[in-house]
């Protein structure tokens, strides 16, 4: 299939479905046509040749202001060039077709963006897509594009991947360069892909590796391709499931999803990490303070222009004592060392990606571990301790485990030690080959929204 045909198909699907899903904030038809024709003219081959993709609107796209989900950034100058990862995907033959909705400045897990409206879950339009990369996950789930990019600071790739039923990869912190993206919390920000297959994730990830001097947090590593070893299976790998916090904060559907994967992989071992809740608290405080400091000038003079769901959190975060944040960074390092020791005896561990399947849009509270908790931040309770220490994770989607809502997916995190994205992808690939995990395109049934 030629690139221009793939791009035309994607643009037609976006036109037919996005009024219901609300994943896209900009569709770049003219640019995509030109790039697709160029790819065809070059006769490009490879896994990404002619593949349409879209990006969370915190990635720079030449000629567009980089919105990062905000109203305020509509006034910023258009980006002068694409983000590095966009350039790398296009250099491999992929074609960018647009920019995607997100929580304002990435501070949220729901993509209930009041400036442009909520992104709806393609598998149930009355429900949350998750966030903050909700547009990215929804666009893939809706069949609008087979590949999307997002960012993950505390779970913003894995939460929407779980709720929308697609595959997502959060690489090791410092692996992929963030050059040309709008930051949220520089200490914790990661970038990564969403796809409908493990091979799709791996191909995109491999194409995006490599150094870039523009990101001071990137760690100097050789390019370590994952596609060649993708089908090596799990022979020789020591596998476990995470206990403790990761069981307590999971509702039955989330626990059942991990159990199904564990059964498929023959896992019996339970691995306990120490002080997970402290690590989650450290990530919470660092995020709150560092995110707020970034936006302090606008918080001073135009707080009314912020998203109401995040504005008060940003304002509060500006007021936290410095000692809390320094101590939180020390706890984070302590936790990273304990978990590293745990990876001396296990290679890959599993945990739920979200405590539950997608709640209805507007949900305020959920009950977990006997506690009534605010729903929006609680969607990240199981992802936050993992990204806090920068571990690579593939989120894989399972189905039919929420007995009350069997049409909804839920994700499982496949987690490895730093720099072992290859192991996450190999295990995910085994689960996919067994039919345990999959990412079908949503039927986009309107009746569910009409019933609400």
């Amino acid at each position: 299939m030629r690139a221009i045909e793939r791009v035309e198909d994607a643009l037609a699907r976006i036109a037919a479905t996005d009024a219901r899903v609300n994943a896209f904030t900009d569709v770049l038809a003219e640019r995509a046509h030109a790039r697709a024709l160029a790819v065809d003219a070059q006769g490009r081959g490879g896994a990404l040749a002619g593949i349409p993709f879209a990006v969370k609107n915190l990635f720079d796209l030449e000629g567009l202001p980089t919105l990062a989900g905000s109203k305020i950034e509509r006034e910023s100058a258009p980006a002068r060039r694409d983000a590095v990862l966009v350039r790398r995907l296009e250099a491999a033959g992929a074609v960018c077709v647009g920019a995607l909705n997100m929580d304002e400045y990435a501070y949220g897990f729901t993509t209930e963006n009041s400036h442009v409206g909520a992104t709806r879950n393609p598998h149930d339009l009355a429900r949350l897509a998750g966030g903050s990369s909700g547009g990215s996950a929804a666009a893939v789930a809706a069949g609008q594009v087979p590949l999307a990019l997002g960012s993950d600071t505390n779970g913003s790739i894995r939460v929407p991947a779980s709720l929308c039923g697609v595959f997502g990869l959060k690489p090791t912190f410092g692996r992929l360069p963030r050059t040309g993206t709008y930051p949220f919390v520089a200490s914790l920000d990661h970038l990564g892909p969403f796809a409908r297959s493990v091979a799709g994730l791996a191909a995109a990830y491999d194409a995006m590796q490599g150094p870039d001097a523009g990101d001071p947090a990137q760690v100097a590593r050789l390019i370590e391709p994952t596609v060649p070893g993708l089908d090596r299976g799990t022979d020789g790998l020591r596998l476990g499931v995470l206990g403790g916090w990761f069981r307590r904060m999971a509702l039955p559907a989330a626990s059942a999803a991990v159990e199904r994967c564990a059964q498929a992989l023959g896992i019996e071992r339970v691995v306990d990490w120490p002080e997970v809740e402290r690590a989650r608290t450290a990530a919470f405080l660092i995020t709150n303070a560092e995110g707020a400091a970034l936006h302090l000038p606008d918080l001073r003079c135009r707080a009314h222009d912020f998203e109401p769901l995040s504005r008060d959190r940003f304002l509060a975060g500006a007021l936290l004592p410095a000692a809390w944040i320094v101590q939180a960074q020390r706890v984070r390092h302590w936790f990273a060392r304990q978990v590293a020791a745990s990876f001396e005896t296990v290679d890959v561990v599993l945990a739920p990606a979200t405590p539950c399947t997608a709640p209805p849009i507007g949900t305020e509270w959920i009950e977990l571990d006997g506690q009534r908790l605010p729903a929006r931040p609680s969607l990240g309770l199981l992802t936050q301790p993992v990204s806090c220490i920068g571990l690579p994770v593939v989120s894989v989607p399972l189905w039919g485990l929420d007995l009350a809502q069997p049409h909804l997916p839920i994700g499982v995190q496949v987690i490895a030690a730093p720099w072992r994205e290859d192991l996450c992808l190999r295990v995910a690939r085994v689960l996919e080959a067994q039919g345990v995990v999959q990412a079908p395109v949503a039927r986009l049934d309107d009746r569910r929204i009409l019933d609400e």
Binding site: S187, P216, E275, E277, R278, T281, A282, F284, L285, N288, L296, L299, R300, A303, H304, R311, D312, R313, L315, A316, G317, A318, L319, L320, A323, W324, V326, Q327, A328, Q329, R330, V331, R332, H333, W334, A336, I389
Partner: protein, 71 residues
Amino acid sequence: MDARQVEDLLDAQCALLGLRLAPEHRPGVIRYLQLAIDMAPRVMDFPLEPSDEPANVFVPVAPRSAGQEGA
């Protein structure tokens, strides 16, 4: 901290930072500030050794013209 102390903290920090809170934002900011205050002991009360350094590490920035040798 009691509710009055939280309000005093809010007012003092806002004055220091030049933040003028709109009245309608104040209850939400207090709610989130109280949430952080409630969570902070989980990190502040955790015993650490002096050798437990923060996770953020500064990377010195060399001038573009500097070579590897002597760096």
